[in-house]
Amino acid sequence: MSEQKLQSQTVQTTGHAWDGDLQEYNNPLPVWWVYTFYATVIFAIVYWTIYPSWPFGKGWLGGVADITYVNSDGETKTHSWNTRALLMEKLNAASVEQKPYFDKVASMSYEQIAKDPEMSGFIQSAGKALFSDNCAPCHQAGGQGKIGFFPNLTDDDWLYGGTYAKIHETLMEGRRGYMPTFGEVLAADQIDSLANYVASLSGIPHDAGKASAGNVLFHSETAACFYCHGGDAKGRKDIGAPNLTDNIWLWADVPGSDAAEGKIAAIRNVIAQGLNKGVMPVWAGRLSSEQIKVLTVYVHDLGGGQ
């Protein structure tokens, strides 16, 4: 079929001829497309009426839809529709829903909360959210901490005590752990002896001769380790001095090396350099007292508490 014939049969033209025979095809858009386009125009007008749309003067056209919410100061606010107000409304609704539980937390003792299955479930979910928001950046998502930086909350050793009261105190008032730098006070061989002694306390392979020299040094006024760590080296919870006789290591990365030499070197480093980074911030004032109570029970549960 020739082009000419096909054209005359099937394709419309605009009906106008230029220069005698010059014509223009008329291929209109499909009807469904045109009507869909009209529908989107109508949709847009409806949308502009309901929701914020056009800039107008120094502000904008807010639309007829609005959102009413109660802000954190207890004031009722009405805004034209926007996603922030929507979020505020939802947060508000969520806190209203949580309120009975937090009220219950405030009115119950720690022991009562821990024994109530329903409250226990609430602590697990609300506590996890609070912990993830506030505590996890240091103590890690599961509270496992990080050797050399932040204490592990899931073991059974508590630097400052693991009772509800002590955990609460830690959260409210913060903590500051400190160990002097011995590198400038003691000779390298003295530090090595002390490290061997500390290793011996936890059953890590060590040099017995150095360890006994370290033992003497530990309890002497020269190094004066016993002031803080105690004569039995079991630490003092009132000042957060760790127990050196157990298998738990916070500052010296002892579990990090397999060889005894590496373990002792890790202990040596801590003795030589001391510590001034065991800082737990104060949470009173940043979290509500109910939130701190929830966190107290949650953290207590993590490691089984004391």
């Binding site: 394709v11 479930g121 697990q124 738990i248 579990p255």
Partner: protein, 506 residues
């Protein structure tokens, strides 16, 4: 550039209205019975009461906000989604099985599109009259009669659609409260949206689109052809018998008319002798036709007039045919009235029709495909029944705490922690006890919850920690946690969990 335009234009065809003639017969009776049964179940089931202590008293209620499905005495939770999956599999295999045996029986008798279309055609018939009256009405100008009748039909369709929609919503929200709320403007937005969408889609599908849903929209209508085999029974026109050597022919005197029969009028109540005479008349008439080479088809066109999808079955098996059997009824009526044998259009297999000496049609089930589908059906149905009958009264999920995987304690012991979530699926408050197997009893620490009490439909969370000495930890890599409902030791369920220790994590 413009080549192929003609083909493109042919892609869309304006719907040719179909005015079906009503017909009486076996298949019509069967279809009506199925319709009545299906409607009775669909429309009345939500109104059936069922006493429950802790849930709405409705026999079948899909309680979405409560995340449970109440089906008579059975409560199904989202965790049981495997049952739904199985049910869908069973439905699919049943479809294949039935289609392999007797063609698109689902399409013709059970599909909701067919049922609702049938009902809507019945309404149309009631309001506008039989086929000739409807054709006349369609062709006449928009006068008072036409406006009243057409508007009346559409109003009734919309009412039927609306009640269909509100009944659907009633499966998700307790009646009669839903109906009251709906009309007083108190029902949930979801109810209004559902009812509106379903009303319009039912009206459009059963009232306006009808057979176009089957031909253009429904995928099943298209993939059914792969399930047909030569032995499959389907609605067929017996072309050999109907066409003869000279084709079909309208009946005229001397070409097969049984004059006495026509005058005789009513059939059925005739005396035996008279029937004998009639039959022999008919046989004689038929022999005359055959002598002239004409087939038995009298080309009355009734089979086309009754067809809800508007096809001519005499053109052979075609994809539009939903196998509703109405043309069989129509043809049998005509054959009876001429005294010809029934079954010019009948359920038969292609293989039988093509053979030299066709036998009486019968079900050919001894085929690998059919037996395979059958076995799969029995196995899956059996497993579903078994699974429901032996369902646990509670659901449990044990997950090991993975942050950290293990904790080294101050005396060197290793501790792993587990979260045990128990969901009480029974109708009564129950206490659950958690025990261990494979580790020493004293290794398990459940904190304050040696036993946990859980309300029906609720779940409880227990933190279990297991503490092993380094020697034990090196040896034990996994153990079992057992959850036992107190007082029902037979329902205890165990869960294998891992125990991780330094150097033994994977």
């Amino acid at each position: 550039m413009q080549s192929g335009l003609e083909d493109q234009l042919a892609l869309y065809q304006k719907r040719i209205p179909i005015f079906t003639r009503s017909v009486k017969g076996r298949f019509r009776r069967f279809k009506t019975a199925v319709l009545a049964l299906a409607y009775a179940i669909y429309f009345l089931l939500p109104w059936l009461p069922w006493a429950r202590p802790d849930a709405p008293s409705q026999a079948v209620l899909f309680d979405l906000p409560g995340r449970r499905f109440l089906i008579f005495g059975l409560t199904v939770y989202p965790q049981d989604v495997i049952w739904l999956a199985l049910l869908l599999f069973i439905a699919a295999i049943l479809l294949f099985f039935v289609t392999g045996l007797v063609g698109r029986a689902f399409c013709g008798y059970f599909c909701f599109q067919t049922l609702w279309t049938d009902f809507f055609i019945w309404i149309e018939h009631r309001v506008q009259g039989e086929r000739p009256a409807r054709v006349r009405l369609y062709r006449q100008p928009w006068d008072r009669e036409k406006i009243l009748k057409v508007a009346g039909t559409h109003v009734l369709w919309l009412l039927a659609s609306f009640w269909t929609a509100i009944t659907f919503a009633a499966y998700f929200s307790p009646v009669p409260q839903l109906v009251i709320d709906f009309f007083t403007g108190q029902a949930a937005a979801a109810a209004y949206i559902t009812v509106t969408v379903l009303t319009l889609s039912t009206y459009a599908a059963a009232g306006l689109m009808r057979e176009q849903i089957c031909t253009y929209v429904c995928p099943y209508g298209r993939f059914q052809s792969v399930m047909y085999e030569a032995e499959t029974l389907a609605v067929h026109y017996d072309a050999k018998r109907g066409e003869g050597t000279q084709g079909r022919a309208v009946v005229r005197a001397g070409r097969g008319i049984a004059l006495e029969r026509r005058k005789g009028g009513a059939r059925g109540g005739d005396a035996p002798e008279r029937r004998h005479i009639q039959l022999s008349n008919a046989e004689r008439a038929r022999a005359e036709r055959q002598a002239q080479g004409y087939g038995d088809c009298v080309d009355c066109g009734l089979c086309v007039q009754v067809c809800p999808v508007g096809i001519d079955i005499r053109d052979g098996l075609q994809y539009k045919c939903i196998s509703c059997g109405l043309c069989i009824d129509a043809c049998n009526t005509i054959m009876d009235s001429f005294g010809f044998p029934r079954g010019l259009i009948r359920y038969d297999s292609e293989k039988n029709l093509a053979s030299q000496t066709p036998l009486a049609p019968k079900l050919h089930w001894k085929r690998l495909k059919i037996i395979g589908y059958g076995v799969a059906l029995i196995l899956m149905t059996g497993y579903l029944g078994y699974s429901i009958a032996t369902r646990s009264s509670f659901d449990r999920a044990v997950s090991q705490v993975r942050q950290p995987l293990y904790v080294v304690l101050s005396n060197g012991d290793i501790r792993n922690r587990y979260q045990v979530r128990i969901t009480n699926k029974s109708g009564t408050a129950t206490r659950y006890r958690i025990t261990v197997r494979g580790v020493p009893v004293q290794a398990l620490d459940l904190g304050n919850f040696e036993e946990i009490g859980i309300k029906p439909g609720h779940s409880g969370l227990v933190q279990a920690s297991v503490r092993l000495s380094p020697n034990e930890a090196a040896r034990i890599r996994q153990f079992e946690l057992t959850i036992t409902p107190v007082g029902r030791p037979g329902e205890a369920r165990s869960e294998r969990v891992r125990f991780d220790s330094p150097g033994h994590t994977s």
